[in-house]
């Protein structure tokens, strides 16, 4: 039981060459994105935005998961908490990518062009919010607030490994409560800023909640993927039981359905009211071959997870859960692509080098960053007062 629960540099020892291959993919992705930004800015920038937002969401979902566990006094999840903490560890690099994405503002946002605003009274009405300096300030503000919370939550958790001080749990509980308030407000605004304002005349109040639900679903899937890999390669082999996977599976099942619920709420209200300035959003997203993506979005994010994870045995089946999680992670790319790209590709989605490059590079970066962050701490929060419940957990 006690063996292997201390810090080790080589968390991927069970999968030789993985690190080298990931590094290769990451480098290729970075090169493609950089070339694209100059050769085909209208195609590359939206995909860079997508990749940055996706990576940032994964990091945030890690923090959100930890915060939810703390405020709900959850015991079952403590043994796997270092995985979401590792996800939270990629926030700095993800924030850097988001800041780099700001260079693409002229290619991305119609409202950033003075001539577009001057001819459009709606954009003039919004200019107090949608203008480049304020947009940049807001972005930096969101990123720094998130980073501060992630930093201290991880710091206190690791400190506890050494001291075993129960007051650190209380400190993290308070931080978590604060984070939940902050993320609800800032992520709503951030998703509206970065994604909704790509079509600046369109608006939907549920948009923040929709992105939050997708972020959490994808984050849970990513946490499960990381946990399963670490269980296979060693560091968590003796700790993670089928009960932990069962509970992760239940949460994935629940939030997949929650995502579907929010998706449907937005769709039906806009479809039903049929107000031209609103409905144009879905009209554009069902045109031509965009329909295929519309369908795949629902199939990948909800239908497959719902059907497969309905039974108890499937949630406890490591291999099957891993496959469903990978499907969800692809599904989240489809979801974001379907939100971000239609203003740039009117006729239909195109899957080319500009799509694959940044996304594949970002995914490689995600795994490299997460495993690196994981190796910086003990694989399990050894002195957490709730660890005992997690070790003996039976779902």
């Amino acid at each position: 039981m006690i063996m292997n629960l201390h810090k080790s540099e080589d968390v991927l020892a069970g999968i030789p060459r993985l690190r080298r291959n990931l590094a290769l993919v990451m480098a290729l992705g970075a090169i493609t994105a950089s070339i694209g930004a100059f050769v085909a800015p209208e195609r590359a920038w939206p995909n860079i935005l997508l990749a940055s937002f996706y990576l940032l969401s994964l990091g945030l979902a890690g923090v959100l998961f930890i915060a939810l566990q703390y405020v709900s006094n959850a015991g079952w999840s403590v043994a796997i908490r270092r995985a979401p903490e590792a996800l939270a560890g990629i926030l700095p690099i993800a924030s850097l990518l988001m800041v780099i994405t700001l260079l693409g503002i002229p290619s991305l946002y119609e409202w950033s062009h003075a001539d577009a605003v001057s001819g459009n009274h709606l954009l003039q009405a919004k200019a107090g919010w949608l203008n480049v300096p304020f947009f940049v300030i807001r972005t930096i503000l969101y990123l720094s607030v998130w980073f501060v919370f992630a930093f201290y939550l991880r710091k206190f958790s690791r400190q506890q490994d050494a001291t075993g001080d129960v007051s650190l749990t209380r400190k993290n509980k308070k931080l978590s409560g604060g984070f939940l308030v902050v993320i609800a407000l800032t992520f709503t605004l951030a998703s509206m800023d970065w994604i909704m304002s790509l079509e600046p005349e369109w608006y939907s109040t549920i948009f923040g909640m929709y992105n939050l639900s997708g972020m959490l679903l994808n984050g849970l899937a990513a946490i499960a993927v990381v946990v399963i890999i670490l269980r296979r390669t060693g560091p968590l082999r003796t700790v993670v039981t089928d009960s932990h996977l069962h509970d992760l599976g239940k949460l994935i099942f629940a939030f997949s359905t929650f995502w579907m619920y929010i998706w449907f709420s937005q769709y039906i209200l806009i479809w039903y009211a049929n107000i031209p300035e609103e409905v144009v959003y879905f009209v554009n997203r069902e045109k031509g071959s965009w329909t295929i993506f519309a369908g795949l979005n629902v199939v990948f994010n909800w239908l497959i997870p719902f059907v497969v994870l309905l039974s108890q045995w499937s949630k406890k089946n490591e291999g099957l859960l891993l496959k469903v999680c990978v499907i969800i992670m692809i599904g989240h790319w489809i979801d974001l692509y379907w939100m971000i790209l239609p203003p740039f590709l009117k006729t239909g989605p195109e899957v080319s080098l500009w799509e694959i490059g940044p996304f594949a590079g970002m995914i490689a970066l995600f795994f490299l960053g997460t495993f690196k962050a994981f190796a910086q701490a003990n694989p399990v929060p050894l002195k957490d007062p709730l660890l005992v419940e997690s070790i003996h957990h039976h779902s």
Binding site: T205, I275, H392
Partner: protein
């Protein structure tokens, strides 16, 4: 394998109770004749119910015109009350189903009463759409079936019809769920009944429960399945209620965040009502060992969480009204806050957003008096929330010439008062006929974090 608890956990049952103590404490009140206080409460509630019944009888005899409605404002008190009561019901299902799925063991002390509250609240809510039909004896026309009226079918595209399906489904499942949970306790009542009639009635209702391993096993399976079914159902009910408004094109009604916002608001208001009721029950029936300060704290935390979602929704609506750049959207929200009914908006904000912030402090969460007062404030605030949403958008529609105002008539107010009378009458009857705490489930958590205490038999 025995369950292992962290040292951080607090026991759910205090004062070294034994299994038989639990049965006795919960059932004792049913053994005696009702107290004077009960009779006083019952007479007051029943009188309010009579006032409501008279008002409804007068309204049905005279017509819906006796309400304060006019051409511009076609919905006001009636629908406000309907949404208010449906919302109250949601906490019961959250406690019984969703918290069960989340393994929140503290729910066992409050789920029985909360579920009863759900059923009574849905009954109160159901009255309003039915009397609003004007000719309630034709209310069954809402049900689609091959008929001789043409045949005339309902409009399946109308959210009002979906409401009918959602609420009747919700009532049915809530009742079945509640009753299923009651069966083992009814058997307990049967076994300790002294009079023949009581034994017969409780015996009939407990379906021949024998307490065997196999019976418990099946009971727990059914309970889990019902919890799984009730969870999406409770979300769908208030979602569909929100669609009554959000599918329209009225600024302030048509906003996509309404479904999750309404669901959170419903749970928020429902928890406030659970706290109001349970704090009284706890005091009067001496349930302090079962409904502990820890339980009250947990409920306060749910209020902070759901109230936070409601606050986020208020803020999002305001922000997007500005962001939309749409003059009608912007006007709808300026009118809400600063128009002739602005005072109702500020009541809503202070009751629902400001008051619950007190619950961030542990000291206040454990102060029964403070919690009781805040729970009532939230109840008031959530009634006003529905009133604000429904009313203010209607008073100022697209055509300034048809702008109007709403003043409730005495009949409007009497009907609202009557619904409270009905609710409390039913709840008081429940407190005399059935165990208010789930005996079987509390016994299950007796040893939780008790470290060997409470093992005496």
């Amino acid at each position: 394998m025995a369950e292992v608890y962290s040292t951080l956990r607090t026991p759910l049952v205090l004062d070294n109770k034994s299994y038989s103590d639990i049965t006795r404490d919960v059932c004792e009140t049913l053994d005696h004749r009702p107290s004077t206080a009960w009779w006083a409460a019952f007479i007051v509630s029943f009188s309010l119910l009579v006032i409501g019944a008279v008002a409804i009888a007068y309204q049905i005899a005279t017509g819906v015109g006796v309400w304060g409605l006019n051409n511009t404002i076609g919905w006001a008190f009636d629908i406000t009350n309907f949404v208010f009561w449906i919302g109250i019901g949601h906490a019961g299902t959250l406690i019984s189903a969703i918290l069960f799925l989340f393994r929140q063991k503290w729910r066992t002390s409050v789920n029985r009463s909360a579920e009863a509250m759900t059923i009574f609240a849905v009954i109160c809510a159901g009255i309003f759409p039915i009397i609003h039909t004007g000719r309630p004896w034709f209310a069954f026309w809402l049900i689609p079936y091959p008929n001789f009226r043409g045949p005339l079918w309902i409009n399946f595209r109308s959210p009002l019809v979906w409401d009918m399906f959602a609420i009747s489904c919700y009532f049915t499942i809530s009742f079945v769920f509640w009753f299923t949970g009651l069966v083992p306790d009814l058997a307990t009542l049967r076994d300790r009944a002294t009079s023949k009639i009581k034994k017969k009635i409780y015996g009939f209702l407990s379906f021949g429960w024998d307490g065997s391993n196999r019976t418990w096993h099946r009971y727990e399976k059914v309970y889990l399945l019902l919890a799984g079914l009730a969870t999406p159902l409770v979300v769908s009910v208030h979602t569909i209620v929100s669609w009554d408004f959000a599918t329209s094109v009225i600024p302030g009604w048509h906003t996509t965040i309404l479904p999750p916002y309404f669901v959170a608001g419903a749970v928020f208001s429902g928890f406030a009502m659970v706290l109001t009721l349970m704090l009284i029950v706890r005091r009067v029936l001496h349930f302090e060992s079962y409904i502990t300060l820890h339980h009250i704290e947990q409920m306060c935390k749910v209020i902070i969480a759901t109230g936070g979602i409601v606050g986020l929704a208020y803020a999002t609506e305001l922000f997007v009204a500005y962001y939309s750049g749409n003059e009608y959207e912007r006007f709808a929200f300026i009118n809400r806050a600063l128009g002739p009914y602005g005072w109702t908006y500020w009541i809503m904000v202070s009751c629902n957003i400001l008051a619950p912030q007190l619950f961030w402090f542990k000291k206040l969460r454990r102060n029964v008096a403070v919690v009781f007062v805040v729970s009532i404030i939230i109840n008031v605030g959530m009634w006003f929330e529905r009133f604000v949403i429904i009313m203010t958008s209607l008073t100022r529609d697209f055509l300034p010439a048809s702008w109007s105002a709403f003043t409730p008539t005495i009949i409007d107010i009497a009907t609202l008062v009557g619904s409270f009378g009905l609710f409390f009458t039913l709840f008081l009857l429940f407190s005399r006929l059935l165990p208010m705490i789930s005996i079987g489930e509390v016994k299950n958590v007796l040893h939780y974090a008790n470290n060997g205490k409470g093992d005496k038999k």
